[in-house]
Amino acid sequence: MSDVFDVIVIGAGPAGMAAACSAASNGAQTLLLDENAGPGGQIYRAIAASPFRSGRVLGHAYWVGENWINRLRRSGAAHRPRTTVWSLRASGNGVEIGTLSDGVAQLLRARQVVVATGAMERPMPVPGWTLPGVMTVGAVQTLLKSSALVPHGEAVLAGTGPLLYLFARQLVAAGAPPALVLDTTPRANRLRALAHLPSFIASRYFFKGIGLLAAVSRRVPIVRGVEALAIAGTDRANAIRWRTEAGWQERRCDLVLLHQGVVPNIDLWSSAGCRAVWNEAQACWHAEIDSWGQSSEAGILVAGDGAGIGGAEVAAIRGVLAGLQAAHLCGCLDSGSRDLQSRPAFQALARLLRGRDFLDAAFLAPAWSRVPEADTLVCRCEEVTMGDLVAAMRDGASGPASLKTFSRCGMGPCQGRQCGLTVTEALAATLDRTPTEIGHFRPRPPVRPIPLGALATIPATDEETTSVVRL
């Protein structure tokens, strides 16, 4: 292909927008690819086309996204929305990216690539979690941000983490308060978090968190100490059961919204061979990166929550740093200018990371909702239960790849994105190994489904066409 970009950024959330801005404004010919219709990622979802005109419902932190959209427009970076990236591969002379836009597949080349594919909500496999009427909190927050939709009827929020309460408050502000919050935060987390309390009190999260809890508890009943959950219904969810020290209780409901934190999306960068490291405090995989975001693969940087969870502001700072380094590595920016421009970013990063340890310890999801009981589905696509996985392990499956072969877990259309983390933790817990020893699914291209017809129309040289055909 003739198109060689200096820098291609994948994902237009805070990290991707920041990386594209800092690379392009330093003279790098930059292309920003994104799966969604508009920039903003999940945190600033639909920011450029929001049905809301005031900050009353979504709050100030959402509208900060507008600044990034404006900076992106001025930066000179090209933005290609509605584009799926289905392969990523570093070769000797740059990086090759397979894309699909409007049904047309292309192979693009770049000297440097910044992967900023963000986070997803941690899978929360509880009985009944595949029923219609059960969604993630983030999913329903997307309905609110992008289309001003709110739950109609009795909605129950269940799980742990700041987003659970942030969204409860947004629903209160929208005039649609949830019927109940079931908080699964383990009591033991409090003790562990206590050690990080001083830095948390000094952080910006402290007063925000206290205000949030107060606002929600004034309007919404909260049950704490929930130790088990089950969602009931046949064609759709119609009730939720939960267990506390006082025993089991049940409540009729129309919607169940689950959330237990966010974890990096590792599919794209791990498919390119970038190494992952297990983060024990957050119980998820991070990308192995240096302070600029450089991964273990030459030509590929990883920035934002897709590399490691830090939140939107940290993601943007890491995007700035990755963008500067990408511009430097492709020869647009000398190291002195890079260092000078990066200084405020490194300073801000130290300030913004203060208080994170407390949040990680306080809101680590409980073990029972990460590795479920035997009859609960782990793989939503192929409908594989925890019991099926244990049986496969008994038959000799010892890692994610062999588990896949034995059980079909992770072989459906989502390609293991949804169940991957559960699979690692289920193997580790059952076989009494560490997640690092177990490892993770190794996605292969195409990492997203692509029509065969589109693949067949990619222009290829004669050498490429005959490379797999022995004549």
Binding site: A37, P51, T136, H152, G153, D235, Q418
Partner: protein, 99 residues
Amino acid sequence: MFRRLPEDARPIIRLSVDGRDIEARRGDSVAVALLAANVIPTRTTPVSAAPRAPFCMMGVCFDCLVEIDGIGSQQACLVRVREGMQVATQRGARRLDPG
């Protein structure tokens, strides 16, 4: 299951789902349109014909797969509605149409 807040003043877009006309707003994804019109389930699974509906709304879970304008297994959460769009919910495993 969901209702629209009154402050949403975006223009109305009409599309068809399994032959029934529904209203969406400009900028909605197909998944939003289906949820707002209470189209549940949006598919049944190929494995056990279990009912499913959009779950993650961000392109991860693939539970919102529908047929859009004749092309099957599209992620409804990633496609925006267009006037006159023809959407069909998917039932069980796909059949291969010979020829």
